[in-house]
Protein backbone atom coordinates (compact mmCIF):
# COMPACT_ATOMS: atom_id res chain seq x y z
CA UNK A 1 0.00 0.00 0.00
CA UNK A 2 1.42 3.37 -0.93
CA UNK A 3 2.27 5.88 1.78
CA UNK A 4 -0.44 8.22 0.52
CA UNK A 5 -3.10 5.54 0.65
CA UNK A 6 -2.17 4.32 4.09
CA UNK A 7 -2.22 7.88 5.43
CA UNK A 8 -5.23 9.35 3.59
CA UNK A 9 -7.23 6.32 2.36
CA UNK A 10 -9.48 6.00 5.41
CA UNK A 11 -9.96 9.76 5.99
CA UNK A 12 -11.00 10.25 2.35
CA UNK A 13 -13.36 7.25 2.42
CA UNK A 14 -15.04 8.47 5.63
CA UNK A 15 -15.22 12.04 4.33
CA UNK A 16 -16.91 10.94 1.10
CA UNK A 17 -19.37 8.74 3.04
CA UNK A 18 -20.22 11.66 5.32
CA UNK A 19 -20.81 13.98 2.36
CA UNK A 20 -23.01 11.40 0.60
CA UNK A 21 -25.02 10.85 3.80
CA UNK A 22 -25.58 14.57 4.33
CA UNK A 23 -26.80 15.13 0.75
CA UNK A 24 -28.85 11.94 0.30
CA UNK A 25 -30.90 12.78 3.42
CA UNK A 26 -31.94 16.06 1.82
CA UNK A 27 -33.18 14.44 -1.38
CA UNK A 28 -35.97 12.31 0.00
CA UNK A 29 -37.60 10.58 2.95
CA UNK A 30 -37.97 6.91 3.89
CA UNK A 31 -35.27 4.85 2.17
CA UNK A 32 -33.27 7.99 1.42
CA UNK A 33 -33.11 8.77 5.13
CA UNK A 34 -32.08 5.18 5.92
CA UNK A 35 -29.25 5.43 3.35
CA UNK A 36 -28.20 8.79 4.81
CA UNK A 37 -28.05 7.41 8.36
CA UNK A 38 -26.04 4.38 7.15
CA UNK A 39 -23.45 6.57 5.41
CA UNK A 40 -23.26 9.11 8.22
CA UNK A 41 -23.02 6.32 10.78
CA UNK A 42 -19.78 4.96 9.22
CA UNK A 43 -17.38 7.62 10.54
CA UNK A 44 -19.06 7.38 13.96
CA UNK A 45 -18.70 3.58 13.97
CA UNK A 46 -15.05 3.67 12.81
CA UNK A 47 -14.20 6.28 15.46
CA UNK A 48 -15.94 4.28 18.18
CA UNK A 49 -14.22 1.05 17.09
CA UNK A 50 -10.72 2.53 17.29
CA UNK A 51 -11.40 4.03 20.73
CA UNK A 52 -12.95 0.88 22.22
CA UNK A 53 -10.83 -1.69 20.29
CA UNK A 54 -9.23 -4.34 22.54
CA UNK A 55 -5.52 -3.68 23.00
Amino acid sequence: MSAFRSLWGMPILLGVLTAIGLVVGLLGDGWWDAAAVTCLGMPVAVGAWHIARPR
Partner: protein, 393 residues
Protein backbone atom coordinates in the same frame (compact mmCIF):
# COMPACT_ATOMS: atom_id res chain seq x y z
CA UNK B 1 6.69 19.29 5.38
CA UNK B 2 9.57 21.65 6.09
CA UNK B 3 10.12 22.65 9.73
CA UNK B 4 9.27 26.27 8.88
CA UNK B 5 5.95 25.23 7.30
CA UNK B 6 5.16 22.95 10.22
CA UNK B 7 5.73 25.85 12.62
CA UNK B 8 3.54 28.13 10.50
CA UNK B 9 0.60 25.70 10.33
CA UNK B 10 0.98 24.85 14.03
CA UNK B 11 0.75 28.56 14.83
CA UNK B 12 -2.40 28.92 12.67
CA UNK B 13 -3.98 25.83 14.24
CA UNK B 14 -3.09 26.89 17.78
CA UNK B 15 -4.42 30.44 17.61
CA UNK B 16 -7.51 29.87 15.47
CA UNK B 17 -8.55 27.10 17.88
CA UNK B 18 -7.66 28.90 21.09
CA UNK B 19 -9.69 31.98 20.21
CA UNK B 20 -12.84 30.07 19.25
CA UNK B 21 -12.67 27.02 21.57
CA UNK B 22 -14.64 28.48 24.51
CA UNK B 23 -17.42 29.61 22.17
CA UNK B 24 -17.42 26.33 20.26
CA UNK B 25 -17.73 24.40 23.54
CA UNK B 26 -20.70 26.62 24.41
CA UNK B 27 -22.25 26.00 20.96
CA UNK B 28 -21.74 22.23 21.25
CA UNK B 29 -23.22 22.09 24.76
CA UNK B 30 -26.26 24.25 23.92
CA UNK B 31 -26.66 22.65 20.50
CA UNK B 32 -27.04 19.17 21.99
CA UNK B 33 -30.46 19.82 23.63
CA UNK B 34 -31.49 21.94 20.62
CA UNK B 35 -31.18 18.82 18.40
CA UNK B 36 -34.01 17.39 20.50
CA UNK B 37 -36.01 20.59 21.00
CA UNK B 38 -39.23 19.02 19.70
CA UNK B 39 -38.93 16.04 22.05
CA UNK B 40 -37.99 18.26 25.01
CA UNK B 41 -40.89 20.63 24.22
CA UNK B 42 -43.16 17.60 24.18
CA UNK B 43 -41.90 16.45 27.60
CA UNK B 44 -42.30 19.94 29.04
CA UNK B 45 -45.81 20.15 27.61
CA UNK B 46 -44.90 23.10 25.40
CA UNK B 47 -45.81 21.48 22.08
CA UNK B 48 -49.29 22.17 20.74
CA UNK B 49 -51.39 19.20 19.61
CA UNK B 50 -54.49 19.59 17.40
CA UNK B 51 -57.71 18.26 18.94
CA UNK B 52 -58.65 14.75 17.81
CA UNK B 53 -61.26 14.42 15.09
CA UNK B 54 -64.29 12.15 15.29
CA UNK B 55 -64.12 9.00 13.16
CA UNK B 56 -66.62 10.53 10.76
CA UNK B 57 -64.51 13.68 10.37
CA UNK B 58 -61.30 11.69 9.92
CA UNK B 59 -62.66 10.09 6.76
CA UNK B 60 -63.09 13.53 5.23
CA UNK B 61 -61.28 16.15 7.34
CA UNK B 62 -62.95 19.57 7.22
CA UNK B 63 -60.94 22.65 6.30
CA UNK B 64 -61.69 26.05 7.82
CA UNK B 65 -61.87 29.23 5.78
CA UNK B 66 -58.64 31.26 6.33
CA UNK B 67 -60.62 34.40 7.11
CA UNK B 68 -62.39 32.60 9.96
CA UNK B 69 -58.98 31.32 11.22
CA UNK B 70 -57.82 34.95 11.37
CA UNK B 71 -61.14 35.98 12.97
CA UNK B 72 -60.56 33.41 15.74
CA UNK B 73 -57.24 35.09 16.56
CA UNK B 74 -58.80 38.57 16.39
CA UNK B 75 -61.56 37.45 18.78
CA UNK B 76 -58.88 36.56 21.32
CA UNK B 77 -56.84 39.75 20.78
CA UNK B 78 -59.20 42.44 19.42
CA UNK B 79 -56.58 45.20 19.91
CA UNK B 80 -53.76 43.41 18.05
CA UNK B 81 -53.03 43.17 14.31
CA UNK B 82 -51.92 40.15 12.31
CA UNK B 83 -48.16 39.93 11.64
CA UNK B 84 -47.75 36.39 10.27
CA UNK B 85 -49.59 33.11 9.96
CA UNK B 86 -47.77 29.86 9.32
CA UNK B 87 -48.07 26.09 9.16
CA UNK B 88 -45.46 23.48 9.98
CA UNK B 89 -44.78 21.07 7.13
CA UNK B 90 -45.74 18.00 9.19
CA UNK B 91 -48.78 19.54 10.92
CA UNK B 92 -51.45 20.75 8.46
CA UNK B 93 -54.13 20.66 11.20
CA UNK B 94 -52.83 23.82 12.90
CA UNK B 95 -52.33 27.44 11.95
CA UNK B 96 -49.97 29.51 14.10
CA UNK B 97 -50.91 33.20 14.16
CA UNK B 98 -48.36 35.82 15.20
CA UNK B 99 -50.10 38.97 16.44
CA UNK B 100 -48.83 42.26 17.83
CA UNK B 101 -49.75 45.87 18.67
CA UNK B 102 -48.29 46.81 15.27
CA UNK B 103 -46.70 44.97 12.31
CA UNK B 104 -43.19 44.98 13.85
CA UNK B 105 -44.07 44.43 17.53
CA UNK B 106 -41.16 42.62 19.25
CA UNK B 107 -43.55 41.61 22.07
CA UNK B 108 -45.77 39.57 19.76
CA UNK B 109 -48.00 36.71 20.86
CA UNK B 110 -48.39 33.35 19.17
CA UNK B 111 -51.83 31.73 18.91
CA UNK B 112 -52.55 28.22 17.61
CA UNK B 113 -55.87 27.83 15.74
CA UNK B 114 -57.38 24.55 14.54
CA UNK B 115 -57.07 24.61 10.72
CA UNK B 116 -60.19 22.43 10.38
CA UNK B 117 -62.65 24.11 12.75
CA UNK B 118 -61.11 27.61 13.13
CA UNK B 119 -61.32 27.13 16.92
CA UNK B 120 -58.72 28.43 19.34
CA UNK B 121 -56.36 25.62 20.48
CA UNK B 122 -53.56 27.06 22.61
CA UNK B 123 -51.00 29.78 23.04
CA UNK B 124 -47.65 28.04 22.67
CA UNK B 125 -44.85 29.65 24.72
CA UNK B 126 -42.60 31.87 22.60
CA UNK B 127 -39.42 30.04 21.48
CA UNK B 128 -40.49 26.81 23.19
CA UNK B 129 -40.56 28.09 26.77
CA UNK B 130 -38.08 29.81 29.10
CA UNK B 131 -35.48 26.99 29.20
CA UNK B 132 -35.34 26.37 25.44
CA UNK B 133 -35.37 30.12 24.74
CA UNK B 134 -32.37 30.54 27.08
CA UNK B 135 -30.41 27.75 25.34
CA UNK B 136 -31.51 29.04 21.93
CA UNK B 137 -30.19 32.57 22.55
CA UNK B 138 -26.92 31.29 24.03
CA UNK B 139 -26.53 29.25 20.85
CA UNK B 140 -27.67 31.83 18.30
CA UNK B 141 -26.82 35.37 19.44
CA UNK B 142 -25.51 35.40 23.04
CA UNK B 143 -28.53 37.65 23.88
CA UNK B 144 -26.92 40.37 21.75
CA UNK B 145 -29.11 40.40 18.64
CA UNK B 146 -27.59 40.75 15.18
CA UNK B 147 -24.10 41.79 16.45
CA UNK B 148 -24.10 38.68 18.67
CA UNK B 149 -24.97 36.50 15.67
CA UNK B 150 -22.24 38.03 13.53
CA UNK B 151 -19.72 37.60 16.36
CA UNK B 152 -20.55 33.88 16.60
CA UNK B 153 -20.32 33.74 12.80
CA UNK B 154 -16.76 35.06 13.02
CA UNK B 155 -15.95 32.44 15.67
CA UNK B 156 -17.36 29.86 13.25
CA UNK B 157 -14.98 31.09 10.55
CA UNK B 158 -12.09 30.60 12.98
CA UNK B 159 -13.35 27.05 13.58
CA UNK B 160 -13.19 26.41 9.82
CA UNK B 161 -9.59 27.72 9.80
CA UNK B 162 -8.80 25.45 12.78
CA UNK B 163 -10.28 22.42 11.00
CA UNK B 164 -8.41 23.06 7.75
CA UNK B 165 -5.09 23.65 9.52
CA UNK B 166 -5.77 20.56 11.63
CA UNK B 167 -6.07 18.47 8.45
CA UNK B 168 -2.76 19.90 7.18
CA UNK B 169 -1.09 18.92 10.47
CA UNK B 170 -2.67 15.45 10.40
CA UNK B 171 -0.09 14.27 7.83
CA UNK B 172 3.16 14.98 9.73
CA UNK B 173 1.65 13.65 12.98
CA UNK B 174 0.21 10.44 11.50
CA UNK B 175 2.85 9.55 8.87
CA UNK B 176 4.39 6.81 10.99
CA UNK B 177 1.17 5.59 12.59
CA UNK B 178 -1.61 3.33 11.33
CA UNK B 179 -5.05 4.94 10.93
CA UNK B 180 -6.82 5.12 14.26
CA UNK B 181 -3.78 4.14 16.34
CA UNK B 182 -4.22 5.19 19.98
CA UNK B 183 -1.01 4.82 21.99
CA UNK B 184 -2.20 3.71 25.42
CA UNK B 185 0.22 3.01 28.26
CA UNK B 186 2.72 5.75 27.48
CA UNK B 187 2.13 9.35 28.49
CA UNK B 188 -1.40 10.68 28.91
CA UNK B 189 -0.51 13.49 26.52
CA UNK B 190 0.36 11.00 23.76
CA UNK B 191 -2.92 9.13 24.26
CA UNK B 192 -4.96 12.34 24.05
CA UNK B 193 -2.99 13.52 21.02
CA UNK B 194 -3.96 10.29 19.25
CA UNK B 195 -7.62 10.62 20.33
CA UNK B 196 -7.63 14.25 19.17
CA UNK B 197 -6.30 13.20 15.75
CA UNK B 198 -8.66 10.21 15.46
CA UNK B 199 -11.87 12.03 16.45
CA UNK B 200 -10.81 15.12 14.53
CA UNK B 201 -10.35 13.20 11.29
CA UNK B 202 -13.52 11.06 11.53
CA UNK B 203 -15.73 14.09 12.30
CA UNK B 204 -13.91 16.27 9.73
CA UNK B 205 -16.52 16.63 6.97
CA UNK B 206 -19.48 16.79 9.37
CA UNK B 207 -17.80 19.48 11.48
CA UNK B 208 -16.90 21.47 8.35
CA UNK B 209 -20.48 21.30 7.04
CA UNK B 210 -22.06 22.19 10.38
CA UNK B 211 -19.48 24.96 10.87
CA UNK B 212 -19.94 26.52 7.44
CA UNK B 213 -23.76 26.26 7.49
CA UNK B 214 -23.73 27.75 10.99
CA UNK B 215 -21.76 30.72 9.67
CA UNK B 216 -24.27 31.09 6.80
CA UNK B 217 -27.14 31.05 9.30
CA UNK B 218 -25.58 33.92 11.25
CA UNK B 219 -25.91 36.02 8.07
CA UNK B 220 -29.71 35.49 7.89
CA UNK B 221 -30.67 39.00 9.03
CA UNK B 222 -28.14 40.65 6.74
CA UNK B 223 -29.24 38.59 3.71
CA UNK B 224 -32.92 39.34 4.37
CA UNK B 225 -32.13 43.03 4.56
CA UNK B 226 -30.34 42.87 1.20
CA UNK B 227 -33.35 41.13 -0.33
CA UNK B 228 -35.84 43.61 1.15
CA UNK B 229 -33.92 46.63 -0.06
CA UNK B 230 -33.45 45.23 -3.59
CA UNK B 231 -36.11 42.77 -4.81
CA UNK B 232 -39.02 43.54 -2.46
CA UNK B 233 -38.38 47.25 -2.97
CA UNK B 234 -38.57 46.73 -6.75
CA UNK B 235 -41.76 44.66 -6.48
CA UNK B 236 -43.61 47.40 -4.56
CA UNK B 237 -42.20 50.33 -6.54
CA UNK B 238 -45.52 50.96 -8.39
CA UNK B 239 -47.22 51.59 -5.01
CA UNK B 240 -44.89 54.43 -4.03
CA UNK B 241 -46.76 57.32 -2.38
CA UNK B 242 -50.09 55.49 -2.20
CA UNK B 243 -51.82 55.17 1.17
CA UNK B 244 -51.98 51.61 2.61
CA UNK B 245 -55.31 49.83 2.02
CA UNK B 246 -58.03 50.84 4.49
CA UNK B 247 -59.64 47.41 4.46
CA UNK B 248 -57.70 44.17 3.96
CA UNK B 249 -58.82 41.79 1.21
CA UNK B 250 -60.07 38.28 1.97
CA UNK B 251 -57.17 35.97 2.86
CA UNK B 252 -59.05 32.92 1.62
CA UNK B 253 -59.39 34.44 -1.85
CA UNK B 254 -55.85 35.86 -1.87
CA UNK B 255 -54.34 32.46 -1.06
CA UNK B 256 -56.61 30.71 -3.57
CA UNK B 257 -55.29 33.04 -6.33
CA UNK B 258 -51.67 32.50 -5.23
CA UNK B 259 -52.21 28.75 -5.19
CA UNK B 260 -53.79 28.77 -8.65
CA UNK B 261 -50.52 30.19 -9.97
CA UNK B 262 -48.41 27.59 -8.15
CA UNK B 263 -50.28 24.30 -8.44
CA UNK B 264 -48.81 21.56 -6.27
CA UNK B 265 -47.34 24.01 -3.79
CA UNK B 266 -48.70 24.75 -0.33
CA UNK B 267 -48.53 27.77 1.93
CA UNK B 268 -45.59 27.84 4.33
CA UNK B 269 -46.28 31.23 5.85
CA UNK B 270 -48.07 34.47 5.09
CA UNK B 271 -46.63 37.88 5.96
CA UNK B 272 -49.13 40.68 6.60
CA UNK B 273 -48.77 44.28 5.36
CA UNK B 274 -46.01 46.24 7.09
CA UNK B 275 -43.88 43.25 8.13
CA UNK B 276 -40.35 42.80 6.73
CA UNK B 277 -41.52 39.93 4.50
CA UNK B 278 -44.28 41.93 2.80
CA UNK B 279 -44.81 45.62 2.04
CA UNK B 280 -47.27 48.21 3.39
CA UNK B 281 -49.57 47.30 0.47
CA UNK B 282 -49.13 43.54 0.14
CA UNK B 283 -49.60 40.16 1.64
CA UNK B 284 -46.47 38.07 1.16
CA UNK B 285 -47.62 34.49 0.53
CA UNK B 286 -44.65 32.12 0.81
CA UNK B 287 -45.31 28.81 -0.91
CA UNK B 288 -43.22 25.66 -0.78
CA UNK B 289 -43.32 22.23 -2.38
CA UNK B 290 -44.22 18.96 -0.68
CA UNK B 291 -41.14 16.91 -1.64
CA UNK B 292 -38.19 16.52 0.77
CA UNK B 293 -36.04 19.04 -1.09
CA UNK B 294 -38.68 21.45 -2.45
CA UNK B 295 -40.28 21.73 1.01
CA UNK B 296 -37.14 23.54 2.17
CA UNK B 297 -37.32 26.24 -0.51
CA UNK B 298 -39.90 29.02 -0.67
CA UNK B 299 -41.52 30.80 -3.57
CA UNK B 300 -42.83 34.26 -2.62
CA UNK B 301 -46.07 35.49 -4.18
CA UNK B 302 -47.04 39.11 -3.53
CA UNK B 303 -50.79 39.79 -3.30
CA UNK B 304 -52.26 43.31 -3.29
CA UNK B 305 -53.73 43.53 0.22
CA UNK B 306 -56.48 45.88 -0.97
CA UNK B 307 -57.73 44.05 -4.08
CA UNK B 308 -56.62 40.49 -3.29
CA UNK B 309 -55.00 40.22 -6.76
CA UNK B 310 -51.54 38.69 -7.33
CA UNK B 311 -49.12 41.43 -8.38
CA UNK B 312 -45.77 39.67 -8.56
CA UNK B 313 -44.09 36.32 -7.97
CA UNK B 314 -40.43 35.46 -8.03
CA UNK B 315 -38.02 32.71 -7.24
CA UNK B 316 -35.81 33.41 -4.26
CA UNK B 317 -32.33 34.76 -5.04
CA UNK B 318 -29.47 32.26 -4.73
CA UNK B 319 -28.26 33.65 -1.42
CA UNK B 320 -31.62 33.06 0.25
CA UNK B 321 -31.88 29.55 -1.24
CA UNK B 322 -28.41 28.89 0.16
CA UNK B 323 -29.56 30.15 3.55
CA UNK B 324 -32.68 27.96 3.51
CA UNK B 325 -30.68 24.85 2.55
CA UNK B 326 -28.07 25.67 5.20
CA UNK B 327 -30.68 25.34 7.93
CA UNK B 328 -31.39 21.60 7.74
CA UNK B 329 -27.68 20.86 7.20
CA UNK B 330 -26.93 22.70 10.43
CA UNK B 331 -29.88 21.38 12.46
CA UNK B 332 -29.70 17.73 11.37
CA UNK B 333 -33.50 17.57 11.42
CA UNK B 334 -34.09 16.10 7.97
CA UNK B 335 -33.29 12.42 8.40
CA UNK B 336 -35.49 11.18 11.22
CA UNK B 337 -34.52 9.93 14.68
CA UNK B 338 -31.43 8.06 13.40
CA UNK B 339 -29.88 11.21 12.00
CA UNK B 340 -30.66 13.19 15.16
CA UNK B 341 -28.89 10.54 17.22
CA UNK B 342 -25.81 10.64 14.95
CA UNK B 343 -25.88 14.46 15.18
CA UNK B 344 -25.78 14.13 18.98
CA UNK B 345 -22.89 11.60 18.85
CA UNK B 346 -20.91 13.76 16.42
CA UNK B 347 -21.57 16.77 18.65
CA UNK B 348 -20.18 14.84 21.64
CA UNK B 349 -17.14 13.75 19.60
CA UNK B 350 -16.55 17.41 18.71
CA UNK B 351 -16.63 18.32 22.42
CA UNK B 352 -13.87 15.71 22.98
CA UNK B 353 -11.83 17.16 20.09
CA UNK B 354 -12.17 20.69 21.53
CA UNK B 355 -11.43 19.58 25.09
CA UNK B 356 -8.44 17.43 24.13
CA UNK B 357 -7.08 20.26 22.00
CA UNK B 358 -7.21 22.58 24.99
CA UNK B 359 -5.58 19.90 27.18
CA UNK B 360 -2.79 19.34 24.63
CA UNK B 361 -2.09 23.07 24.54
CA UNK B 362 -1.93 23.33 28.34
CA UNK B 363 0.33 20.23 28.60
CA UNK B 364 2.50 21.44 25.77
CA UNK B 365 3.18 24.67 27.67
CA UNK B 366 4.14 22.66 30.75
CA UNK B 367 6.26 20.21 28.75
CA UNK B 368 8.12 23.08 27.08
CA UNK B 369 8.80 24.76 30.44
CA UNK B 370 9.99 21.46 31.95
CA UNK B 371 12.33 20.95 29.01
CA UNK B 372 13.70 24.47 29.39
CA UNK B 373 14.20 23.78 33.12
CA UNK B 374 16.13 20.57 32.32
CA UNK B 375 18.38 22.43 29.93
CA UNK B 376 19.04 25.11 32.52
CA UNK B 377 20.02 22.44 35.05
CA UNK B 378 22.26 20.73 32.49
CA UNK B 379 24.05 23.99 31.85
CA UNK B 380 24.29 24.92 35.51
CA UNK B 381 27.22 22.68 36.59
CA UNK B 382 29.44 24.35 34.03
CA UNK B 383 29.21 27.59 35.96
CA UNK B 384 31.54 28.27 38.88
CA UNK B 385 30.04 27.13 42.17
CA UNK B 386 30.54 30.51 43.81
CA UNK B 387 28.62 32.33 41.12
CA UNK B 388 25.68 30.00 41.59
CA UNK B 389 25.68 30.57 45.32
CA UNK B 390 25.78 34.28 44.78
CA UNK B 391 22.77 34.07 42.49
CA UNK B 392 20.71 32.15 44.99
CA UNK B 393 21.09 34.91 47.59
Amino acid sequence: MSPANLRRWSWIHKWSSLVCTVFMLLLCLTGLPLIYHHEIGHLLGNEVEPPALTAQQQANPPRADLDSVIAAGKARYPDKVMMYMSQEADQPALWFLTMGKHANDPDFVSVAIDARSARYVAEPPIEGGALMAFLFHLHVDLFAGVPGKLFLGFMGLLLVVAIVSGVVLYAPFMRKLAFGAVRHGRTARLKWLDLHNLLGIVTLVWALVVGVTGVVNTLADVLLQVWQSTEIAAMVKPYEGLPPPAKLASMEQSVARAQALQPGMRVGFIAFPGTPFASAHHYGVYMHGDQALTAKLYKPVLVDAGSGQVTDQRTLPWYLSTLLLSQPLHFGDYGGAGMKFLWALLDLATIVVLGSGLYLWLKRGRAARAKAGDEARMRAPRQPALAREGESR
